[in-house]
C-alpha cells in the first residue's frame, strides 16, 4: 500500500484535466481522486475510509463552496494530518488570508502554464519547508 494519492475537488472539467496532466508529469506514482463539487467531495469522505496524502480544493464552486468544504474537512478526524491546498484562480488577498485562518496548508493560484503547475506540484511533494502562498502574485 505504497500508492500515494491526491484528492482534487474542482467543478471545472478543464481544470481537472489540466491537473491530472501536471500530476502525471510531476510524479507518476500519484493517483488522483476527483470530486466535481464540495458536496460530492464530502459525500466521498463520509462514505469511505479514504485518506489522501494531499487535498487540492477549488474555492469558487456551486453547491458547497471551497471554504465550506475546507471547513468541513478540517473537522474530519482522519484528515487531521492531511495537508489541504487551496487550488484556485483567485489571487484575492482576502481569499488567501481567510483560507489560511481556516486551516489550509498552502495556497496555489492556478498557473497559466502546465510546466509551472508541474513544478509547483513537485515542490509540494518533495520539499518540507514551503511558504503558505505557493504562487507568485503580481
Amino acid at each position: 500500500m505504497n500508492q500515494r494519492s491526491c484528492f482534487l475537488i474542482d467543478d471545472d472539467e478543464d481544470d481537472r484535466e489540466i491537473f491530472a496532466m501536471a500530476l502525471k508529469k510531476a510524479n507518476a506514482d500519484y493517483v488522483c481522486t476527483t470530486a466535481k463539487n464540495g458536496r460530492d467531495a464530502l459525500e466521498i469522505v463520509a462514505n469511505s475510509d479514504f485518506i489522501p496524502n494531499y487535498v487540492f480544493v477549488d474555492l469558487n464552486m456551486p453547491m458547497v463552496s471551497g471554504r465550506e468544504c475546507l471547513t468541513a474537512l478540517k473537522k474530519v478526524k482522519r484528515f487531521t494530518d492531511v495537508p489541504i491546498i487551496v487550488y484556485t484562480t483567485s489571487s484575492h488577498s482576502k481569499d488567501i488570508e481567510d483560507t489560511q485562518s481556516l486551516g489550509a496548508s498552502h495556497y496555489l493560484v492556478k498557473p497559466t502554464s502546465i510546466a509551472e503547475l508541474t513544478r509547483l506540484l513537485t515542490d509540494v511533494f518533495t520539499k518540507k519547508e514551503l511558504p503558505f502562498l505557493l504562487s507568485e502574485i503580481n
Binding site: I18, P62, T89, T112
Partner: protein, 540 residues
Amino acid sequence: MESIENTVIETDILTNGMSPGFNASIFNALPVAVYTCNNTGVITYYNNAAIHLWGRSPIIGKDRWCGGFKGYTEDGKELSADFCPYGAMLDKEIALPMDTFILERPNGTFVNVQPNPSLLYDTAGRVTGLINVLTDITAKNKEHHISLNDAVNYKSISATLEKTAEESTKNLKASEERYHRMIDEVQEYAILMLDPDGYILNWNKGAQSIKGYTEQEIIGKNFRVFYLDEDRKAYLPEALIRDASSNGRAKHEGWRVRKDGTKFWGAVVITAIYDDSRNIIGFSKVTRDLTERKLADDRMQVYARDIEFRNKQLEEYAYIASHDLQEPLRKIKVFGEMLQDSLNDPETIKHYLDKINASAARMTTLIKDVLKYSQLASTDELFELTHLNVALQHVLEDYDLALEQKKITVHLTDMPVIMGIPIQLHQLFSNLLSNAIKFSRENPVFTISAQAPLEDDIQNHHQLQKGIPFTKIIFKDNGQGFEQQYGDQIFKMFKRLGNTPGTGIGLALCKKIVENHSGFITVDSEPGFGTTFSIFLPLT
C-alpha cells in the same frame, strides 16, 4: 445822637400824657419797632428799633401814621401818605387786622413789615391814640418764599420724578411689548414658554407656522401634542423635561406632528427657567423646522449608499476582471502549451483546439454580458408608461422558434401598465424566458401572470409595507428546478448551479433590472417540479 433822641422821646411822651411809669429806655431795649400816635395820627414816640426799621427819624408831633419814607402793598401799589388803616381804627375805636406792607427806606432798601396797632386809652376810657409794633418780616418772607420755591421745586421735582417714573414704566412696557412682539414676529423658530409640567403658556408666529395651531387652540395644552404617538408612548416629552430639569437644558432632534397630522423634523432646545431661589418656574422651548435639511441629509445618505453600492460594483468588476475573465484566458494558454507537447497526435490536437475555441467563445460572451450589466442605467428620463403585455408579446416573438421546437405551451394573462424602462423590461423577460427554455423538460408549460401581492408577501417583504401599490408578476415553469437553498445564489454574478450552461450573469442582470425599477425579485424552486420567479414592481 442816641441820647438826644432819647431825651426828646421822653419829653414828648410825657407831654402827651403817657401813663406814669412809662420808661422810654425799656422801649429802646426792645428789638422790635414800636411807636405811638395821638388820636389824629401824629407820631408822638418811637423807639430805636423803629428808627432802624424805617431808616429815618420822623419828626415827633409832625409826621403822621406810618413813620416810613414810602410804603407799598404786597402786590406793589404805593400807599398814600394821607390814607391809613389806623385812622379807621381810631374812628371806630376798635382793633382791626392789618395787612403786611412793604416799607421803602430813604436809602432805597425795602423791608417787609407786619404792623400790630393797638388803641391807647386814658383813665376815663377815651381813645387817646394808638401804639404800633412793626415787625420786620423780610427774613421770614424770604424763608416763606424759599419754602414756597422749595415747594414749587418739590412739586416740579416730584412732577419730573412722576414723569420719569411714568416714562420708565412706559419704556419698560414698551420694551416688554417690543420684546414680546419681537418673539412673536420670529417666523423661523417656534418660541414658547412651558409651565413646570409642560403646559404651554405662550405662542409665537413661528410656532403657528411650524406647528399649525393658533394661539387660542394651543395655550393651556401640554406640549406632548407635538410628539409622535410612539414617542409619547415612550415618554420622550417627559424625558426631555427631566433632562432639562436636571441639566438646565435638553436638546433633541426628531420627527414631530403638526396640527394637520403631517410630520416635520424638529430641532428642539428646552431650557429650564429658575426663580431667585433656584426653583424651576417653567421652561422655554425653541423649535426649528429642519425638515428640509433632514430630507437633504437623507438624500445625501441615499447618494452615499448609492456611491457605496457603485463602489462595491466596481470591486465586483475588478474581481470579475481578475478572476472570471482570466479563467478562459488561462485555459487558452495552458491548452496551447499542452497542444505544443502533442503535435504528433491529430486526435489530441483536435481535443486541445476545441478546448481553446470553447474558452475563447466563453470569454467573448463574458465580456459582452459584463458590458450589458454595467450599462444598465436607471435615470428618470428613461422611464415611460410601459404595457407589460406588449413587452412580453415581443419577447415571446423573439423566442418563437425555440418555443416551437421544444413544443412549449405559454399561458400569458393580462399584464398591468407600469412606469418602466422598456428596453430593460424586455431584457428581464427575455432572460427569464431563455432560462426557462434552457432548463425545460418534457411537456413544458410556462405561465406568466400578474396579481396583487398576497398577504404573505406583504408580511415577508418590508418593501411592500410602505403603502405604495405593487404588482406581482409570476413567471412559472415546470422545468428542472433546483434546491430552494440556492435561491439567493442564483442572482449573484457568475454563480451557476453545477455545470449549467451560460455565463452566470443572466439572473444577476434580472435582479439589477428589477431593482432599477424599485422592485425586487424572488424565486421558488423544487428539483423536478419547476421554478417560479416572482417579480414585484411598483405600479406608479
